[in-house]
């Protein structure tokens, strides 16, 4: 979880400078993947875009988990309503919504992805919370009249562990959600470089023109998918 959270800082990094007179350069020692049409170093762009995608996914996963925790704590009576919300995959709703709105900004994507992913995390969080709620420790806390701040202080590390266990799946949902939105031209605008944005730009020419940046973006997506795949159990 920590390495994923470390990428949050990438959201604050400035954009690369433009140099249109050095656009479209091929592979060379100074630019290992060449430059894009606006003269930005392709390798740097790939690294920055990937880091921003990972940072955005981390921010989104944190929001989804916070909302999921709230739903799991409060939503016992609304089990069936949450199951109805879960039956719609986040992207099935988000893609047409983004098209209707003419594309979504970074903040709107963050909020909507977090909101739509939260019901999917609720069952796993509820299972963990219910175990805690039925434990003697929780009964003791209530009998002894412990205050909320003191309960939070004691149980925050345990709560963090539970959240951390579900963080990778929430993170992947957010990562692929944003990448798909951006690759289809419905995500954050050109001001926010991301893996999806790189794919959207490079995909049309990949088939005809060997573009190192496009292939590298595809390889980055595949690498991220494979490193996040569950291991042999």
């Amino acid at each position: 979880m920590r390495w994923r959270l470390a990428f949050l800082g990438a959201l604050l990094l400035p954009n690369l400078g433009l140099d249109p007179f050095r656009g479209g350069l091929g592979v060379m020692l100074r630019h290992p993947l060449g430059t894009d049409d606006l003269g930005r170093d392709a390798l740097l762009r790939l690294l920055l875009g990937s880091a921003r995608s990972l940072g955005f996914a981390s921010a989104c996963a944190l929001l989804a988990l916070a909302l999921g925790l709230l739903l799991a704590w409060q939503g016992r009576r609304w089990h069936s309503a949450l199951s109805a919300l879960r039956s719609l995959p986040p992207l099935l709703f988000l893609l047409p919504l983004a098209a209707a709105a003419g594309g979504l900004g970074l903040l709107a994507t963050w909020v909507l992805l977090g909101l739509l992913a939260a019901p999917h995390l609720e069952p796993a969080l509820r299972t963990r919370i219910e175990t805690f709620r039925q434990s003697p420790a929780w009964a003791a806390e209530r009998c002894l009249g412990a205050t909320w701040p003191s309960i939070l202080r004691r149980w925050a590390p345990w709560g963090w562990q539970q959240v951390a266990a579900l963080f990778p799946s929430a993170w992947l949902t957010a990562l692929w959600g944003e990448a798909t939105l951006s690759a289809l031209g419905l995500g954050p605008g050109p001001g926010q470089d991301s893996l999806g944005r790189l794919l959207a730009e490079e995909l049309p020419r990949l088939g005809s023109d060997p573009s190192p940046l496009g292939w590298a973006a595809l390889a980055a997506v595949l690498l991220l998918a494979w490193t996040s795949a569950p291991g042999k159990t």
Partner: protein, 217 residues
């Protein structure tokens, strides 16, 4: 009100709200765009894709058993997002063959969906150790068959929206009209009747995927 209806009532309320929202949206009239006709031509390929998946995934899960759920190669095949399969297909498609058509879409769809579905079914199967493994191979395959037959209908209903999402992404990247695009366009254009029909279908699928009487929710 019996226990099942009582349990499902909040979910039905959510769908009723979705339906009301679909009807209450400002319609396409003021936007000056007419809703597209339903893509009847895409129904056969969609049925073929769903049919292939509905047969191939349970067959593979039956052959592999619950052990498949922890196989690393299957997890690696399942891990890439739908987007990557669509991009790879578009990139590797020989230009001389013209733009990728329905067959290419079907291939990409099966590549994107089949590993995940096999894993989903394998994970839902009960462990076979010590029984029915101790009773021999015939008992094992009989138990697998019974479990999969019981799961089949509900699995289809529960997974259809996931397949719709996969096909939507593939259709948008490959530029093919289909069921996913139809849902996409009706939301984007705020076509009230079409959208209400889609919400009704999704609600019905949700209802079909719910556990019945005497089953744990």
């Amino acid at each position: 009100m019996d226990a099942v209806t009582k349990r499902l009532a909040p979910g039905l309320l959510v769908w009723a709200f979705g339906l009301a929202l679909a009807w209450g949206l400002p319609g396409s009239v003021w936007k000056g765009a007419t809703p597209p006709p339903f893509p009847w031509a895409a129904l056969f390929p969609a049925a073929l894709a769903a049919g292939t998946l509905a047969l191939a995934a349970p067959l593979l899960a039956w052959a592999g058993g619950p052990g498949l759920a922890s196989r690393r190669p299957l997890a690696l095949l399942e891990a890439p997002p739908d987007l990557l399969w669509a991009c790879l297909l578009l990139t590797l498609w020989p230009a001389a063959w013209g733009p990728p058509g329905t067959l290419a879409w079907l291939l990409a769809f099966l590549l994107a969906a089949l590993p995940g579905e096999v894993r989903w079914l394998s994970q839902a199967m009960p462990s076979e150790y010590p029984f029915p493994q101790a009773w021999g191979q015939e008992a094992v395959s009989r138990v697998r068959r019974t479990v999969l037959l019981r799961l089949w209908g509900r699995w289809l209903a529960a997974r259809f929206p996931i397949w719709l999402t996969a096909t939507l992404v593939l259709e948008r990247v490959l530029g093919l009209p289909g069921l996913g695009t139809d849902w996409f366009t009706r939301v984007a254009l705020r076509d009230r009747p079409g959208l209400a029909l889609w919400v009704g279908v999704l609600a019905l699928l949700w209802l079909l995927a719910q556990p019945g009487k005497g089953e744990e929710p």
